[in-house]
């Protein structure tokens, strides 16, 4: 643990031009400390703010100069007070000099640790770098930066700069910004530096890695291209999901007076025989693992299993290269691995670089078979894609994604959108409206990508740590609402939506929306809006109600053979509103006729189908009257004739009155509708 203790000094610009984003800086830094308090409790941290009215640092007292820089917190092991400090950053009054701040930070680290802990000392600068730094006494600014950078490298320090730009610095002097950017880039030539530019508060929150994970190799060894050609590589994880912290269970059984209570909960598992009468616990040594094979469970002891199980040899082999287009992006299965040449091995680096670049040129990918560890029980087949480094300091590398095996793929069949009838296909205007939407809702206009995953913090985790901090102070604190800045991650940018209002309006115009009556009944009560006719969105056709998708053959009369289909076709004939009225009327007649002359052995089946169709149609058209009328007549008829089966059939399919909640014009409450057929039951009809 101790060897990984990080020593970090935060250098925060609190000058007037930074005030707009300081609340995000506060959140970001306190989050950093909150995470440190949980995951790396022994890390040490100091805080320096610059751009303050007063000056308070060692250098200004010792040598003078270094004005407007305040050491808010000397380097110390992280604790709760630090969170409080960082949550209330002072608002500065002058434009700070970030280079001075860097020097102050370095001075703190040097004084405290001398030249020990190489590589564990880190500076983190958050500034907008829009104000010029002071001219040095001698030499140029560049020379000065160069000297500092060299000193930094000698001391084994790293620096991470987060430069806040974009709309926070619109009216800044471009020349100064360019100069500052150039100065900062010098650092990256000399030392280990990470400089990121962020332009929204949201990405600022994601810009700083708030939790440091010590990288661990998954594999060290040869990447075998052929038996003769092997390259030494190290494999790391490139992405790994940061999980929600695993919380421990808390026991309240111990009396409050017991100060030593751990409140821990032990989870114990007992294995009992199922047969009921002997409720005995089976000791571990008497247990044996069983695997299902069809209806059987096959017992296998661990030793037996070890003898026969699949035991591949450790190693990574290239199975072949193939065209990049052969590998579909959605086939990637898991988190991603990173293959780099063995560090310090120049020729391996060259070999990786040559292959990566050749692959890039040929648009090829490699298929790999990997066994990371000896004794691993399975193999991994995946695809290796080149990663050409844009940074001169960083060697080329590969990314590796796991591909599915044949067993992992379920080949469900879906109808092709093109094979849908023409009435479901988008018409030109709809297509145009959708095209426009795609164009206007661009999140990456001219290279400025919004919501870049690298800078998008996980809102759930952010909320958890904030709640944790709140609870530490006040145990019954309510769950805080999601941070406004983070809303951008889960909701469309209101600005973007407002700018493109016309596009959305066009979309609304061209896509007539309908409620989906079928789904209203479903247990999941989404408020369901339904697109009728056709659909042009990228996702393709939406649920299309059968009523609208009949072939455009004019149906003018509801026949005896297929009354339901005829009715639906008629309802969908949009050229004249009279069709609807006619269809409803005709179907009503048909139903009544079917009641009086039941059709064949399935008796009322057909009538019930018609009733169902009529109900659906009437809800869509918001015309509850004719339908409810009919229902009353049916009830009356059944009561008179003593027909029991039909009401039961109707009730079983929920074909009751249309209530007010389904159609505005109805004067039937939901309660009434429900009890419509129930009411008649008490009347004996024998």
């Amino acid at each position: 643990m101790a060897r990984n203790k990080e020593k970090l000094v935060l250098l925060l610009d609190v000058g007037p031009s930074m005030h707009g984003v300081l609340s995000e800086v506060e959140k970001l830094c306190s989050m950093l400390v909150e995470k440190k308090l949980i995951f790396s409790k022994y890390d040490e941290l100091g805080v320096v703010v610059f751009g303050t009215e007063e000056s308070n640092n060692d250098l200004t007292t010792e040598v003078g100069g270094y004005q407007n820089i305040t050491v808010l917190q000397d380097i110390k092991v992280v604790d709760g007070d630090l969170v409080d400090t960082l949550q209330k950053l002072p608002r500065g009054t002058v434009d700070g000099d970030f280079l001075d701040a860097i020097v102050v930070g370095m001075d703190m680290l040097i004084k405290k640790y001398k030249d020990l802990h190489k590589g564990k000392k880190r500076l983190c600068l958050i500034t907008n770098a829009i104000h010029p730094i002071k001219d040095p006494f001698e030499g140029s600014k560049e020379d000065q930066v160069m000297t500092i950078a060299e000193q930094m490298a000698a001391q084994g320090m790293k620096i991470e700069s987060i430069v806040v730009r974009g709309r926070f610095s619109r009216d800044a002097n471009k020349g100064v910004m360019d100069e500052n950017d150039h100065l900062l880039s010098i650092f990256s030539k000399k030392t280990h530096t990470r400089t990121v530019y962020v332009d929204t508060p949201t990405s600022l929150l994601g810009a700083l890695k708030t939790r440091r994970v010590t990288p661990v190799t998954v594999f060290r060894g040869h990447l075998e291209l052929s038996p003769q050609m092997k390259i030494k590589v190290w494999v790391y994880k490139k992405t790994q999901e940061e999980k929600f912290p695993t919380l421990k269970k808390y026991s309240e059984k111990a009396p409050a007076s017991n100060k030593l209570a751990t409140h821990q909960v032990k989870v114990s598992y007992e294995y009992k025989s199922v047969d009921g009468y002997s409720n005995s616990v089976i000791p571990p040594e008497q247990r044996i693992k069983g695997y299902r094979y069809g209806p059987q469970v096959v017992p296998i002891s661990t030793a037996e299993w070890d003898a026969v199980k699949f035991k591949p040899e450790k190693g990574i082999k290239v199975l072949g290269f193939t065209d990049a287009s052969k590998i579909k992006r959605h086939c990637y299965m898991k988190d991603v691995y990173l293959f780099i040449a063995e560090p310090g091995n120049t020729r391996a680096t060259l070999a990786v670089s040559a292959i990566a670049r050749a692959m890039k040129e040929m648009n090829a990918v490699a298929i790999l078979r990997c066994v990371w560890r000896q004794g691993q029980q399975n193999v991994v087949v995946g695809v290796l894609t080149p990663n050409i480094s844009q940074n001169d300091k960083i060697p080329d590398s590969f990314y590796f994604n796991v591909l599915p095996f044949a067993e992992d793929v379920r080949e469900y069949q879906f109808p092709s959108f093109n094979s849908f009838p023409a009435s479901w296909q988008p018409n030109d205007q709809q297509q145009k409206a959708a095209d426009e939407l795609v164009q206007m809702l661009d999140l990456a206009p001219s290279g400025k990508e919004a919501l870049l995953p690298e800078f998008t913090p996980n809102p759930v985790l952010e909320r958890f740590y904030r709640h944790l901090e709140l609870k530490a102070k006040q145990p019954d604190a309510a769950v805080p609402p999601l941070d406004e800045t983070l809303k951008k991650i889960i909701e469309p940018d209101p600005e973007l939506v407002a700018e493109n209002k016309s596009v959305f309006d066009a979309l609304h115009r061209h896509f007539e929306l309908k409620q989906n009556p079928k789904l209203k009944k479903s247990s999941r009560q989404w408020y369901q809006e339904k697109q009728s006719g056709s659909n042009a969105h990228v996702s393709g056709g939406q649920a299309v109600n059968s009523i609208e998708n009949q072939p455009p053959v004019k149906i003018e009369k509801i026949g005896d053979l297929t009354p339901v289909q005829d009715f639906e076709a008629m309802m969908s004939q949009r050229d004249n509103p009279e069709w609807v009225e006619k269809a409803i009327k005709e179907l009503r007649e048909k139903i009544l006729a079917l009641l009086i002359h039941p059709d064949g052995e399935d008796k009322y089946q057909k009538a019930v189908e018609c009733v169902a169709a009529l109900r659906k149609g009437c809800i869509i058209e918001q015309e509850p009257g004719p339908y409810n009328d009919l229902m009353h007549r049916i009830r009356q008829y059944c009561e008179e004739k003593g027909i029991k089966s039909l009401p039961q059939l109707l009730a079983s399919r929920d074909l009751t009155l249309i209530s007010k909640s389904e159609a505005e014009d109805s004067n039937v409450t939901a309660e009434e509708a429900r009890s419509f057929f129930v009411k008649m039951e008490p009347k004996p009809d024998v």
């Binding site: 994880k237 929600f244 421990k248 008497q286 069809g294």
Partner: protein
């Protein structure tokens, strides 16, 4: 704990615990494989896997066998029956001629597949002629109609279970496109009519009939002659049907595999494009890792399954905790407590729907933006249209779970501590690499052409044990690299050329050098160890049984010196040393 609060990326089978109980009823599938066993199935052959001719009967049977094996693994709650028609012998409940229901002991006719069924079905071809026999069931002058009988038997087999809880299907394998072709007009008409009526009756009961036709090399299977009516194909479907039905076994297996899985929706979700404009979508898990089934603990004495009981015990008082306990996180020297509901509340950051944030060009989707298998979405409420065409990629959208900043690591940026730039390959080296890549180029690679060797092995072992067989069948590791191909002279030459351009002449030295450099510390250790190893008279100690008097450290010195593993307890170390000495 999971960070996918809406379970969009969940698999419907994630709940392995529940699967045992609930999957059994709700979504079962009953399948009857109806295999034509007429002499024609044995007479016609087609080019098989390895260019050898095989009979259509063999094709159909091996197809069924293959699907049974998949079924027992992935959908073992489904029930199957295998039924031959146009047979000499008869065996069915109705005692109809020309229909033989194949079954094994301890199993109902329509039941879950068992290891024994698979084993005996695997060798059915050997005994088929002897025990079941092949014979035309429809001959002029007879009133027998074996196809009619077969459909009747199949329908009767599928009588079990309610249509609400189960999918019922008949899969019909045949190469006879005109079963009543040999008959005279009136009889033909009559039989055609009754057979179609029988099929329609079955379909009315909710049983779907699917046809897997086999074409003869000389004449293609003509669906429209008879079967189009039977399975209810018309218009465009009919046109699409035939190209998919092929004579090749591989295609047939493929077909069957695709039809074996019924689509299952993971969940239904609303996709909100703009305010007041949303689409209802179904999500499907098209790609999810298949793992060996869950372990069931057994009592090794009785082999009865055991029930696992989980109990929470307070460590302070030893009391049993009944209600779901609070959770806590140590923080700032105290325990911050959370109610389970609060955790759920924290995770619920948005209402359960998809919202459109905007669009980005595909180039923004980096190769490393991936954490989980993708989820496929397709508009819901679509009335099923089953097309028989072979579909390579379904239309719709794939959802990819992107990482957050917290999930991405920058490990490639760790190392450059040097002042020089990282080495880059020059043009010549890239050319040589490209030449090598061209030599090992696979033209038609498919992302999921490999079977998982570990899983194959797992089930091979299970099958052997379930049948109490002594030998475990060898499984082929399809992922093994093509050693032979890689030693082709052209490949070797290309590899050598590339190696030379990057490593110069000293490739082998380099690898040796690396080893030395790496092991400098360990070499020192080894040297010490070797010296130390000499200090003891190991043989003498071992003879006297005094090894146990040495410390583990001393023992390890010996093991190190002889390149033996140093893991395990002291007894293990001693026994390893003794084995090594041959004592």
């Amino acid at each position: 704990m999971d960070l996918d609060p809406e379970d969009v990326f969940k698999d419907e089978e994630d709940d392995l615990d529940n699967e045992f109980y609930h999957q059994s009823e709700s979504s079962k599938e009953y399948v009857v494989y109806l295999v034509d066993a007429s002499p024609k199935m044995f007479n016609t052959t087609c080019a098989g896997n390895d260019q050898k001719d095989e009979t259509h009967f063999h094709t159909a049977v091996s197809c069924v066998a293959g699907s049974l094996k998949t079924q027992i693994i992935s959908r073992s709650y489904d029930e199957v029956a295998i039924c031959f028609f146009n047979t000499r012998e008869k065996k069915n409940l109705q005692d109809l001629n020309g229909v033989f229901v194949f079954n094994v002991a301890e199993r109902e006719h329509l039941d879950r597949p068992t290891a024994r069924l698979i084993k005996e079905f695997d060798c059915i071809e050997e005994s088929f002629m002897r025990e079941i026999g092949s014979q035309y069931g429809i001959v002029p002058g007879s009133r027998e109609n074996s196809l009619y009988n077969a459909l009747w038997v199949a329908q009767a087999l599928l009588r079990k279970g309610s249509i609400k809880t189960a999918d019922k299907r008949i899969l019909l394998f045949t190469n006879e496109d005109d079963p009543f072709g040999s008959l005279q007009d009136a009889a033909k008409k009559d039989m055609t009519r009754t057979t179609l009526q029988r099929a329609k009756d079955a379909q009315d009961l909710g049983i779907s009939i699917e046809l897997l036709p086999l074409s003869r090399p000389d004449s293609e299977f003509n669906v429209s002659t008879f079967y189009a009516d039977l399975i209810g194909l018309d218009g465009e479907d009919l046109a699409q049907f035939m190209p998919s039905a092929s004579q090749k076994l591989e295609d047939m297996k493929d077909q069957l595999r695709k039809r074996m899985f019924t689509k299952r929706v993971v969940r239904r979700i609303e996709f909100q494009i703009a305010n007041g404009l949303s689409i209802e979508l179904n999500t499907y898990a098209l790609i999810r890792p298949t793992v060996p089934g869950a372990i069931t603990w057994l009592d090794s004495v009785t082999n009865h399954p055991l029930k696992t009981e989980r109990s929470l015990i307070c460590e302070d008082t030893g009391a049993l905790i009944q209600e779901p306990p609070k959770l806590f996180q140590p923080y700032r020297n105290e325990n911050v407590k959370f109610l389970p509901e609060e955790i759920a509340e924290i995770k619920r950051i948005s209402p359960g729907k998809l919202r459109l944030l905007g669009f980005k060009p595909l180039s923004c989707l980096k190769d490393y933006y991936n954490l989980r298998p993708s989820t496929f979405v397709y508009p819901s409420d679509q009335d099923e249209i089953t097309s028989a065409g072979a579909q390579m990629e379904p239309p719709g959208m794939h959802m990819i779970y992107l990482p957050y900043a917290d999930d991405i690591r920058d490990d490639e940026e760790i190392f450059p501590d040097t002042e020089e730039d990282a080495p880059r390959a020059d043009e010549d080296q890239i050319q040589k690499a490209a030449a090598l890549i061209k030599r090992i180029y696979v033209k038609d690679f498919s992302a999921f052409q490999f079977a998982n060797p570990a899983l194959q092995r797992h089930y091979a072992v299970l099958q052997a044990l379930a049948l109490a067989e002594d030998d475990i069948p060898e499984t082929i590791d399809e992922t093994a690299s093509d050693e032979e191909g890689l030693t082709r002279p052209a490949v070797v030459r290309a590899a050598e050329a590339f190696k030379h351009s990057v490593y110069g002449d000293s490739y082998d030295e380099e690898s040796d050098m690396g080893k030395e450099k790496m092991s400098e510390a360990s070499r020192k250790r080894k040297a010490i160890a070797e010296n130390a190893a000499k200090d003891y008279d190991w043989g003498n100690l071992a003879d006297k049984g005094q090894l146990k008097n040495l410390t583990v450290g001393d023992l390890k010195v010996y093991l190190n010196a002889h390149n033996l593993p140093v893991s395990g307890k002291k007894e293990a170390l001693i026994s390893r040393i003794l084995t090594h000495m041959g004592k």
